[in-house]
């Protein structure tokens, strides 16, 4: 999806540095940032939390038919990664094929280009993961 630069700019803390939320009432962690704790609602107290970027593979697939903007990347490995602090995220896993992965394979965050909007459009960066050696 084509997006304006403001959208990209305001998501930089989450996409570049894995900033999410922690609820001081129920102690649950959330990624990305959520203004309201879905469990505690008005009794919740959300504060900013930076995630370490370490986790384990929870599920994975290889995307053969990509959406717009990912044509040159396919096939690529896409996974749900469970961060060590609890929340799960959807992200690509790079420098491997799905044969190298299993449920629970340890992975770590890497900073990568995610997609670019044509030759003159924005270039979007963010997190992907690679197998932790």
């Amino acid at each position: 999806m084509k997006s304006g630069s403001a959208l990209t700019w305001r998501l930089i803390p989450n996409r570049y540095r894995l900033i999410g939320s922690h609820c001081e009432t129920c102690k649950e962690n959330f990624f990305p940032t959520r203004p309201v704790c879905p469990s505690c609602r008005r009794k919740g107290k959300m504060v900013e939390k930076k995630f370490k970027g370490e986790g384990k593979i929870y599920s994975f697939t290889t995307v053969q038919v990509p959406p717009e903007g990912f044509e040159l990347e396919a096939p690529y490995v896409l996974a749900i990664v469970e961060l060590s602090e609890g929340p799960r995220v959807t992200a690509q896993v790079v420098d491997c094929s799905e044969n190298d992965l299993g449920f629970g394979t340890p992975v770590e965050m890497v900073f990568r280009k995610i997609q670019e909007e044509g030759k003159e459009g924005l270039i979007h960066y963010g997190f992907k993961f690679k197998i932790k050696k």
Binding site: Y58, F60, Q64, V65, E68
Partner: protein, 404 residues
């Protein structure tokens, strides 16, 4: 009515007292498929005219219109679609309301129509679902459908809908030993049913080998595990039971309507092998009607991917959690078996014009309960169910139907 909010018990009592019974009096649908020669308005009008004829209605009896469409803005550049439909159907100036919940838009439009009649606000309403998907490229459709998930945190990362369901399939395979052959069995069954449905996009059966050898879309899902890109429309006309008897010799009563929501992103759910929204909507629907899953004779469930039907028959309570793959392989859901699932061919075989699907499910169940489903007729079908899902399960809606 003045005591409506005095206590919870009383509220329940009032709902029971004031809800009117609602029935389907007319149904119609366009053929599902790739319609190069037909546009959005041609499709919905074709289905609408059929429904009016079927219900023996002139049009002036209709009080309101509810329309489900997911992505007309992305797919044909047209928003404000229910005003357009009312205009082209000659239904102005009745109120016309668009309902959107991704692939559950049609099911939710049906529920809005049901509530409008049940509440007593309207006596006769028309409910339509429509999607025109083949005017843009496959990549554009993939991107548009992606909007059913979390744009910023799933789609942005390169996820597609097949890949989101593939992530569920992988977990289901790990946790319950579900096999690719069991998933393929869903496709084989639904294509077999579709071949008996002249409105279906696919008119020929496929073999297990053909499914297993088809091109991979997102491992472990292959092309023949996925519902296709489809143009189509479906329409049902609802009336209060009292009025329904005037229009139809065989009105089909909607005996339950329930809906639930879950997280927009798949990764935020505790389990990837169940749709909580389906489980909750089903439980509420069965409670409303005072029946159970084992009473259902015929069901149209949301098989956008083969794994989705396996999870659906588990979450609806037809089989135990984890046994959906084996049950499908054993023929439990085949035509005229324990419960006939997706007799229309489902989303897989009949096609999936996203906004139309939820309404088409009600059309198929109506034909089945009237005993007019031809070659694919379920014997002695008395109780029918429809199950429509939005996205990866962020919305689910379940309806139950029976002959009056």
């Amino acid at each position: 009515m003045q005591n409506f909010k005095t206590s919870k018990l009383e509220t329940v009592y009032c709902v029971v007292v004031f809800m009117r019974r609602v029935a389907i009096v007319g149904v119609g649908m366009s053929k599902f498929g790739e319609h190069w020669e037909k546009g959005f308005r041609d499709l919905i009008i074709e289905a609408g005219v059929q429904a009016l004829q079927d219900g023996n209605l002139k049009g002036e009896e209709i009080d309101a219109l509810y329309g489900g469409t997911m992505a007309a803005g992305r797919l044909i550049g047209q928003e404000h679609i229910t005003a357009l439909i009312a205009d082209y159907m000659g239904l102005n100036p009745i109120p016309a309301t668009r309902v959107e919940a991704a692939c559950a838009s049609g099911g939710l439009a049906l529920r809005q129509g049901f509530m409008a009649v049940a509440s007593g606000l309207h006596d006769v309403v028309v409910v339509g679902g429509v999607e025109k998907m083949t005017d843009v490229s496959t990549a554009e459709v993939t991107t548009a459908l992606g909007g059913a998930g979390d744009q910023e945190w799933e789609l942005f990362m390169g996820a597609t809908f097949p890949s989101i369901y593939a992530l569920m399939a992988r977990r289901h395979m790990k946790e319950y030993g579900t096999s690719v052959e069991q998933m393929a069995a869903v496709s084989v069954k639904n294509h077999l049913n579709a071949a008996k449905n002249k409105f279906a996009q696919f008119q020929k059966p496929v073999t297990l080998e053909e499914v297993l050898e088809s091109k991979e879309v997102s491992s472990p899902l292959k092309v023949l595990d996925c519902s296709p890109i489809t143009d189509g429309a479906a329409v049902v006309i609802l009336a209060s039971l009292e009025k329904a008897k005037k229009y139809s010799d065989c009105p089909i009563e909607i005996i339950a309507s329930a809906q639930a929501s879950d997280t927009i992103a798949l990764h935020d759910r505790k389990s990837l092998t169940e749709l909580k929204a389906t489980q909750i909507a089903a439980r509420k629907a069965f409670q409303q009607a005072g029946v159970s899953a084992k009473d259902v004779d015929v069901a149209e469930v949301h098989d956008c991917f083969t794994i989705a039907e396996i999870m659906a028959i588990e979450d609806l309570g037809f089989v135990e959690k984890g046994k959906g793959g084996k049950a499908t392989e054993d023929g439990f859901t085949a035509l005229n078996s324990d419960v006939s699932v997706n007799t229309s061919g489902g989303l897989k075989g009949c096609g999936h014009p996203v906004g139309a699907t939820g309404v088409k499910q009600a059309v198929e169940i109506t034909w089945q309960l009237r005993g007019k489903a031809g070659e694919r007729q379920v014997k002695n079908a008395e109780l029918g169910l429809t199950h429509n899902v939005g996205g990866s399960g962020a919305t689910a809606v379940v309806h139950l139907f029976k002959k009056c």
